[in-house]
């Protein structure tokens, strides 16, 4: 497993306590899991995502991600409506391991309250939190 110093944590996105990330894309927000989470999970074999059109409140479970021997719930970091999901993960769940921030994104939402984005952690705060977990 990676040391904290080895993690790839981009500056231009925000992070949630459960290791999801969120990034603005014009009007919508893309969401996935970060390098720390994918590294902890190991080889991901399946990602279960919701139907576009469904709605979730901040902190609700929106799907699951599975490795060979573990299932982890995915919690939505902002309330909103799902406008798109990453269909490529159906056949290639390994994208989450190889490229968690680009090809391995999971859902795209239309946020109810854009201010919720600002309440998420920036890279510096998130790194502090991770150090606390060690």
């Amino acid at each position: 497993m990676k040391e904290i110093s080895e993690l790839n944590l981009p500056d231009d996105i925000h992070y949630a306590e459960d290791h999801e990330w969120a990034r603005w894309e014009d009007e919508t927000i893309k969401i996935g899991i970060d390098d720390y989470a994918q590294d902890q999970l190991g080889d991901i074999v399946f990602v279960d995502l919701p139907q576009p059109g469904s709605r979730f409140e901040k902190g609700e479970e929106f799907g699951t991600v599975e490795s060979v021997k573990a299932v982890s719930e995915l919690y939505i970091p902002l309330s909103g409506e799902i406008v798109a999901i990453n269909k490529d993960l159906e056949d290639s769940p390994e994208l989450v391991n190889h490229d968690p921030y680009e090809d391995g994104w999971m859902i795209e939402i239309k946020p109810d309250d854009p201010r919720e984005y600002e309440q998420l952690m920036d890279k510096r705060t998130y790194l502090e939190m991770l150090k606390g977990l060690e």
């Binding site: 399946f46 279960d48 599975e66 490795s67 060979v68 021997k69 573990a70 299932v71």
Partner: protein, 443 residues
């Protein structure tokens, strides 16, 4: 005691390593108030000789086709089991191993189960099958739970012609839930009457059994079509798996789940268990399927090998969110079924199934010519229901005294079918056996 390898010296030296003076002292962490003071009240130990005599006597006090004649099936069938099937499935390496969690030293069980899954999927005409379940009843109950998960609806339709015990287990499993059950009655042809489904949109799944409890072959094509029309899944169950040596399989008609009892595939009746829950479905539903699964992979040198897979659906990982109550399969029974199917081959299964049909048709026509009355018009496989002529119940009781079981009384299960009997004949019933029964009935 021959099962304990410890000599007195061994016990002494091991105790000294542990720092205890006696075996009793090993339990000093248990509060004295919890300890049993008296001895268990159990019969004294028997030698192997004594045990054999005792068990022989208990065994002799039962009725089998060796000391009697049983013309009943009803979920437990009398089929011939080749010596090779018993010898192979009895091999220690299969019998005394655990669930194959360590695949490198369990490839025998794993390949055998992978083959079983394949043969089961082919027999039932579906894409994928699990590593087996406890019995036909729990397979059906799990099939209904799976359909409820897939459809997100809360009502199921259950044919009254499913084996009553299997219906019972489904009801037991669903009792603590908020799901409701719609009962589908029997039509005049002895097949399920689908009319209660008309106009309903709340049905998650339509469950039928074919051949059904009356032995009648259901019209799966119409059932699947009707279910599709109301956006419900079709769960096709069975208690006589051998029928699919001859019948079009459920998958051929588009059934979503096929599940039932595989005891016919080389497993002794042994008072109803252990048996074999067979379970097959479509690949698209595999992550909602209950039970263990074996899949193909390769080792680090590229050699083909088999592992338990998709285990994240199971209890030891998903705990309260598991897809089923099953954490083991009936592996050894699945192995027996695979050996049996391999011994017969597709050609043999078809020939044997046809022979079963022919035997029961012979018995049926004999009974019909002796005052029995046909009640259902539907075609049957190796079982059938007839209404007995007046006075037969006395003959039935007299035959029982000689360990001849001339059918199963149906009023126990269907109070409206007074004086109706369910008969079964398989390849184990010779023409002479059946002629002898017909003679008795005549008298």
């Amino acid at each position: 005691m021959r099962y304990f390898p410890h000599t007195a010296g061994d016990v002494e030296s091991m105790l000294s390593v542990v720092g205890r003076h006696s075996l009793d002292e090993l339990f000093s962490s248990i509060p004295p108030s919890c300890r049993l003071e008296d001895k268990l009240d159990l019969p004294d130990p028997m030698t192997e000789w004594e045990l054999n005599d005792h068990m022989n006597a208990l065994a002799a006090a039962n009725t089998t086709s060796e000391n009697g004649k049983l013309f009943i099936g009803a979920g437990s069938y009398d089929h011939f089991i080749p010596a090779s099937v018993a010898a192979l499935s009895g091999r220690s390496e299969f019998v005394t191993s655990y669930t194959p969690y360590q695949p490198e030293i369990s490839q025998g069980t794993l390949q055998a189960i992978y083959e079983y899954q394949t043969l089961t999927a082919r027999l039932l005409g579906l894409e994928t099958a699990n590593a087996s379940m406890y019995d036909g009843a729990s397979a059906l109950a799990e099939g209904m739970l799976m359909a409820l998960r897939l459809s997100k609806k809360r009502t199921i339709a259950l044919s009254r012609l499913i084996h009553p015990h299997c219906q019972g287990v489904v009801r037991t499993y669903l009792a603590p839930t908020d799901c409701t059950i719609v009962e589908l009655p029997c039509g005049t042809d002895g097949r399920t009457d689908l009319s209660p489904l008309k106009g309903r949109t709340d049905i998650a799944a339509v469950a039928v059994q074919s051949p059904n409890f009356f032995g009648v072959i259901e019209d799966l094509e119409t059932i699947v079509g009707t279910a599709k029309g109301i956006n419900a899944l079709t769960v096709a169950s069975f208690t006589e798996a051998l029928a699919y040596g001859l019948l079009q399989p459920p998958g051929y008609f588009g059934a979503d789940i096929a599940c039932g009892e595989g005891q016919s595939m080389g497993i002794p009746r042994i008072f109803g268990g252990p048996a074999l829950g067979m379970f097959a479905s479509r690949m698209e539903y595999v992550r909602n399927m209950p039970g263990r699964l074996v899949g193909v992979t390769s080792d680090r040198e590229g050699a083909r090998g088999f592992v338990l897979t998709l285990s994240t659906r199971e209890q030891h990982i998903r705990r309260e969110k598991a897809t089923s109550n099953i954490c083991t399969n009936n592996s050894l029974c699945a192995l027996i079924a695979a050996i049996y199917m391999a011994s017969l081959g597709g050609t043999g299964l078809r020939r044997l199934a046809q022979l079963n049909r022919d035997k029961s048709e012979y018995l049926k026509s004999g009974l019909l010519s002796r005052g029995f009355r046909s009640v259902f018009t539907g075609q049957t496989f190796n079982e059938f229901v007839l209404e007995a002529p007046a006075g037969f119940s006395r003959t039935y009781r007299k035959l029982l005294e000689r360990k001849i079981v001339a059918g199963l009384r149906m009023d126990r299960y269907y109070p409206d079918l007074k004086n109706h009997y369910l008969f079964c004949a398989t390849e184990r019933h010779s023409k002479a056996d059946m002629d002898a029964l017909l003679e008795e009935v005549n008298a």
